[in-house]
């Protein structure tokens, strides 16, 4: 299993080479990075096949010893890690291919690929973590490189602000994660996953630690109330958005919950907390996406909503369904984002009402986008249907009727906003200034779209009756009993079809009077302003923090700097007075010396009482 370390090391190597030679390589940097991640993908597939063949790996070596604490570093390979490895490397590979066309001619081309490589490497290290310390380190690495990539066009003020926001908001959650790690270490005495999971905790302790861990996931996976960074992160280049939204960064939070699942299962309160936060997030983000008009913002809120879905699934105990949705979502969301990138590349705008009728000129993009949209909306046999249905079934079986109902409503909204986007952008009349120049993207951008579309069509089948629920048995290590509930399945399909039909009625026909869904009501205002959450944070957190910072600044400048400057000034003043002692006459100095020696002699004689 020695090749496992190569999966992480190859992208790291590419990062180092690109940092050193990136400027000189210019346009050729892409090939180096793609070669590295491509090889890593190949090795990941091999790893996945090995895992399917029953292989497991838990390679560790001692990294450092602090007192009784022994920190290890290593690689853990099990079904969950194997699945994530392939997803991460594959999406990263396609994103990097796509970027060859999208980022063409950018002046920091080499640096872009360096960041992408290291971003991928951090995520792979996170996936491989056999202990929580390594996971936390990789977790921070993912955060750092997402900061660099979101703020890649840092000359734009909004981009650098978005990067800072992403970094700081996720940091709030990371604090919870860090405290959770400390408490876990104090109670369990180890941070090694296999040892921790073998232990038995009191339900309260397990809940506390799990909820603190989940805080980290709330930040990274953009769950309510820390979801605010994700829509802003759209300021980064579109391929980066695809990578952040699909395979890395936001997937990290879900992966953490999935990875620490044995811990969560011991704390019923933590499970409920995860389910509730997930449900709130799924519903809230889906409603915001209904009114958004920026193509990337719609997709961003859709990601937030789908992540909420995954958390909901994990929280209600449907472990396989949650991770299954993670995988399916990675592929179809990467597809949708890259499709959006292709559209933006052609239209030079992100407003969906500046677009229209693109299906006539961009055949590949629109066809693949519709496939992604069907997967997101949850229409069988596309991938999203299978996992979403499983999550809803999990909620239904678990007896969480409220969560089940909200989940269905969210599915309805999801189908509606997805097809609102599709009908407005790809069908109907052409709009906007660039309508005449629209052209299909080059092959290097189209090929990843086609590959992802194939996956969006097919990955869902892995968890369907047609393959005998292969995915579920694989991830749970066999012994999966599935029962089909046609009522849930019917409802799930029904709401999806209803949502699409509604979108068609409203945005593709003139059948509805125009005052249906008008914009002059309080609900619309609330939604279009994202529930004013950013504004609430602005007034309750940002402004007070700024005010306190200003006071602290005054204290720093006046009191602390004053003390330091005062010492310096006093020294100069005293020196200025004493300098006249230095007359420059050698005999003066000699006289002072003689007098001093005489005084010392007299003084010491007195001390010895000689006279």
């Amino acid at each position: 299993m020695d090749y496992l370390s190569l999966i992480v090391l190859l992208p790291v190597l590419s990062f180092i080479l690109l940092v050193v030679f990136g400027k000189r390589l210019g346009d050729k940097s892409a090939y180096l990075s793609i070669l590295a991640v491509g090889t890593a993908f190949g090795l990941s597939v091999k790893a996945l096949l090995d895992v399917m063949g029953g292989a497991r790996a838990d390679l560790t070596f001692t990294w450092l010893t602090v007192g009784d604490l022994e920190l290890t570093f290593g690689l853990l390979l099990d079904p969950l890690a194997g699945m994530m490895l392939v997803v991460v490397t594959f999406v990263s590979l396609l994103v990097q291919l796509f970027s060859v066309g999208y980022m063409h001619g950018d002046k920091r081309y080499g640096w872009f690929y360096a960041c992408l490589s290291m971003f991928t490497a951090s995520m792979l290290l996170l996936v491989f973590s056999p202990n929580f310390v390594q996971m936390y380190m990789a977790w921070e690495g993912v955060g750092l490189f997402s900061y660099l990539l979101v703020g890649f066009w840092f000359e734009k003020r909004s981009a650098s602000n978005a990067a800072k926001k992403a970094f700081m908001v996720t940091r709030v959650g990371d604090l919870g994660f860090a405290i959770g790690l400390i408490i876990l270490f104090l109670t369990a005495g180890t941070l090694d996953m296999s040892q921790v999971f073998a232990m038995k905790f009191a339900p309260e302790t397990a809940s506390l630690i799990a909820i603190l861990f989940f805080f980290g996931a709330i930040g990274k996976s953009a769950q309510f109330p820390l979801h605010v960074w994700l829509p802003d992160a759209m300021e980064g280049p579109t391929p980066v958005s695809a990578l952040i939204h699909a395979a890395t960064m936001v997937a990290a939070g879900v992966y953490l919950v999935a990875r620490a699942y044995p811990l969560f299962e011991q704390g019923p309160a933590a499970m409920e907390f995860v389910a509730i936060i997930g449900t709130i997030t799924a519903f809230m983000a889906a409603t915001i996406a209904l009114t958004a008009t920026d193509i990337k913002k719609i997709l961003a809120y859709s990601t937030v909503s789908q992540l909420g879905y995954m958390m909901m699934g994990l929280g209600v105990g449907a472990f396989a369904a949650g991770t299954f949705h993670l995988m399916n979502h990675a592929f179809f969301k990467a597809l949708l984002f890259l499709g959006a990138g292709s559209v933006i590349h052609a239209v030079h705008s992100q407003e969906i009402f500046d677009m229209g009728g693109l299906s006539r000129k961009m055949k590949i993009t629109s066809l693949t986008f519709v496939i992604g949209g069907l997967a997101l909306a949850g229409i069988p046999p596309f991938s999203g249907f299978w996992s979403k249905d499983e999550i809803l079934l999990g909620a239904f079986d678990g007896g969480y009727m409220g969560i089940f109902a909200i989940g269905l409503l969210t599915a309805l909204f999801t189908a509606f906003y997805t097809f609102r986007l599709i009908f407005v952008v790809f069908f109907g009349k052409a709009r906007g200034h660039h309508a005449d120049h629209v052209h299909e993207s080059p092959a290097v951008m189209a090929v990843p779209l086609i590959l992802l579309a194939v996956l969006a069509l097919s990955t869902g089948l892995l968890g369907s009756p047609f393959t005998g629920y292969a995915y579920q048995s694989f991830i749970l290590g066999g012994g999966f009993e599935h029962h089909t509930n046609y009522m849930v399945m019917g409802l799930s399909i029904g709401v999806a079809v209803l949502g699409i039909f509604g979108a068609w009625l409203k945005y593709s026909t003139n059948l509805l009077p125009s005052n249906v869904l008008s914009k002059n009501n309080i609900v619309y205002k609330l939604l279009v302003n994202n529930y004013y959450i950013d504004e609430i944070y602005e007034f309750t957190l940002v402004r007070p923090t700024h005010a306190i910072a200003r006071y602290v600044l005054t204290f720093d400048q006046k009191v602390i700097d004053g003390a330091v400057n005062g010492v310096a000034k006093a020294t100069a003043r005293i020196g200025g007075g004493l300098k006249y002692v230095q007359t420059g006459y050698a005999q003066n100095y000699a006289l002072v010396m003689v007098v001093s020696v005489v005084v010392l002699i007299i003084w010491s004689f007195r001390a010895m009482e000689l006279f």
């Binding site: 006249y580 230095q582 420059g584 006459y585 050698a586 005999q587």
Partner: protein
């Protein structure tokens, strides 16, 4: 035999004369001479103590020889310095040299 205290008094007087010369003379050459007087008063002490306190050992005498050697070296350096000062300033009067003051 002459008592030890006589030697010590002579040595003290010589030391005082030398010190007065160092502190009060203007001429740098005279200051150097005064330093030599102080060194030799110390030598006198060494020899006298050696003779009266530990006559079986010659350590005091040897020490005096060392002091002479060091003194000779010091005079060589000192005279060279004075020579250079004279070349540059056309004077060896110490009260004219205060270029190292504030």
């Amino acid at each position: 035999m002459i008592p030890l205290s006589y030697y010590l008094i002579l040595s003290g007087v010589l030391f005082a004369i030398g010190m007065a010369g160092v502190l009060l003379r203007r001429n740098a050459v005279a200051v150097l001479l005064s330093v030599e007087i102080m060194l030799n008063s110390a030598n006198l002490n060494f020899v006298a103590f050696s003779r009266y306190i530990a006559p079986e050992q010659a350590s005091g005498q040897i020490f005096a020889l060392f002091v002479m050697a060091v003194g000779a070296a010091e005079v060589a350096v000192g005279l060279a310095l004075i020579l250079m000062i004279y070349r540059n300033m056309q004077s060896v009067n110490l009260d004219q040299f205060n270029i190292f003051r504030w």
